[in-house]
Amino acid sequence: MLSTLSRITSRRVWFVPRFSVWGSPVWNEVDFLAMEEVDSTKSILYGGIGIGESTQTVSFADLVDFRGNNLPPMITNPKVLVRARSSDSVFIVGDETSTEFRIARAPDAVGPVVVDLTVIEMGE
């Protein structure tokens, strides 16, 4: 059963505009052709493999909301939503913790991607 206090403190929401995402889910995309010989038959195959991770870890305390206030360093059961400002995709990597989250842009984005973030405290 929720206490009155927890009802009040849960589901806080912060809007963080124009956040720059430089993290990438992979360091490098390797595209290649390979020639494979099996039973005297040679085949050409295409391979595409992403190697290395370069995700961006963000502390809530480092975020500034649209009023210019820093977010609290700890948020109970946070969820981060991304609002795109361009055609480049940005996504949350894994689960948020109470202090931070990981974010990455799509590998085909040319450089850092600017998005708006909404941080929601789901509460206990």
């Binding site: 595209d31 290649f32 052709l33 020639m35 039973d39 085949s43």
Partner: protein
């Protein structure tokens, strides 16, 4: 992901290690489209293309049906136009064709003679941002090879002063020679191997002038066509070569670095690309019993990383387990299956991999895989097996794409499925002997009179050549 594109009967379907065969449209409506150029027969070169995730490739279209059964090269300009340079089958002269990119498709142009004076082999082609083309090749002259260089300022409509013009000779009298021509920010570099002993370079400004004197990048036994060279965003030239070990060296326009050994073992098909200014090298390495596995190293953290298998699903099994139905016991033979030691993969109760009906080999990986290589010290006789995977509820029998193998040959590369896209979507991980993996089950249907004994079991397929997009 692996996707089978096409079969080839050419001796060199992917050309030389340093040649380029896979290209990507970098911007515009068709950004991300991949183009592959492949020699599919002793005379035919085709192209095919795909959009992400590249699970479906276009029907092959012929670029040339008059090619010699020798390596060729291609280059893509920033606007998507491609130039193919190859040796003509009937004359062994050097020719080019332009593939014009319009509305997402390529149209093949007429053949243009680059040089028609004598046999010309192993071409390399590069393009400046201005559109000026450069080609280098090995010209046979009185039983020896000369490395020649020519250029085209009209989009490949003509080369040098005409087809009889041999261009500039940057090396002569070689018993064997292979070259790579590379355009950097303000310099054209020619990197070439000579006489199976040396890897060398000469350069000159794009604005004109003379070639620099020959610089020896490295030496060793067997320095042949297994080298590559690429340029970083900042103009740095990187060179890799195999001299019994995989070695790297770079040139900043003024000085050459010292030689760095990337792999102590022999490496074939080395290919160098730069992610920004960070070098990354892929190559084929012996993984035992003659199997070649694709590895990579990079210098992301300031020094080169240790070699790592590029595709873990085409490496060693995470787990190999044998089940003996007579004793009703499991034996974990993972380490023995990974080593090439002779005859060390067997169940201690039966003394072999499989013997009685119900005996089973379980081959497990963390992810779904498509290939098994069996290296046996004793071939099985008299028995049959069935193959199955776990579909989430039951073991589901299947016939491997390479047909059922009854462990009756000493060495067998078996395609379970043609490529990763052919792997059944309902294949689920399950627990065998306390290990949760994606297992393929090989179970004895009828008993062996002679049970097979293993030396090595892996998911490594028999790769002959690679061509990384760079």
């Amino acid at each position: 992901m692996f996707k089978k594109i096409i079969d080839t009967t050419a001796s060199s379907g992917l050309g030389d290690p340093s040649s380029r065969k896979l290209f990507k449209i970098v911007d515009g409506e068709y950004a991300g489209r991949l183009l592959a150029i492949i020699q599919t027969s002793p005379s035919e070169i085709v192209f095919t293309y795909a959009d992400g995730p590249c699970s479906s490739w276009s029907a092959p279209e012929v670029v040339a049906n008059d090619a010699a059964n020798t390596p060729f090269d291609a280059v893509m300009a920033g606007d998507g136009h491609v130039w193919l340079v190859y040796t003509e089958q009937s004359s062994y002269y050097l020719v080019s064709r332009k593939m014009t990119f319009t509305d997402g498709a390529w149209t093949v142009g007429n053949k243009v003679d680059i040089y028609n004076g004598s046999m010309s082999l192993e071409p390399s082609v590069s393009v400046e941002s201005s559109g000026k083309l450069w080609v280098s090749w090995s010209r046979l002259s009185s039983g020896y090879y000369d490395i020649q260089v020519k250029s085209s300022t009209d989009g490949g409509a003509s080369w040098g002063s005409g087809a009889t013009d041999p261009g500039e000779s940057i090396a002569a009298g070689l018993t064997e020679g292979y070259s790579r021509i590379i355009v950097a920010t303000s310099t054209i570099h020619a990197v070439y191997s000579a006489n199976e002993t040396d890897i060398l370079a000469r350069s000159k400004p794009l604005s004109g002038g003379a070639w620099s004197s020959e610089f020896t990048i490295g030496s060793g036994t067997g320095v042949d066509h297994h080298f590559d060279a690429s340029v970083a965003e900042d103009g740095l030239l990187g060179v890799i070569f195999d001299a019994g070990q995989l070695r790297y060296r770079e040139y900043d326009g003024s000085n050459w670095s010292s030689v760095v050994t990337l792999d102590e073992d022999e490496a074939t098909w080395p290919q160098l690309s730069f992610n920004g200014n960070v070098p990354m090298v892929t190559y084929l390495a012996d993984s035992g019993a003659g199997q070649q596995v694709m590895k990579y190293v990079h210098r992301r953290t300031g020094s080169f990383s240790a070699p790592v298998v590029l595709d873990p699903r085409a490496g060693q099994f995470d787990s190999a387990i044998l089940y003996d139905s007579v004793s009703a016991t499991y034996a974990d033979v993972t380490e023995a299956a990974r080593s090439a030691a002779t005859g060390d993969v067997y169940h201690p109760s039966s003394g072999c991999l499989l013997k009685s009906a119900g005996d089973t080999i379980y081959l497990g990986m963390e992810r779904r895989y498509r290939f098994v290589t069996f290296c046996l010290s004793t071939s099985g006789a008299g028995g049959t097996v069935s193959y199955a995977y776990f579909d989430g509820s039951n073991w589901k029998s299947f016939t491997p794409a390479g047909s059922t193998f009854n462990l009756d040959e000493a060495e067998k590369g078996l395609r379970l499925w043609d490529d990763y896209h052919g792997i059944p979507a309902d294949w689920q991980a399950n627990s065998i002997n306390g290990q949760l993996k994606f297992w393929v089950r090989v179970e004895v249907s009828s008993a062996f009179s002679t049970g097979p004994v293993g030396s090595m079991l892996t998911a490594v397929s028999n790769l002959l050549a690679t061509s990384v997009r760079r």
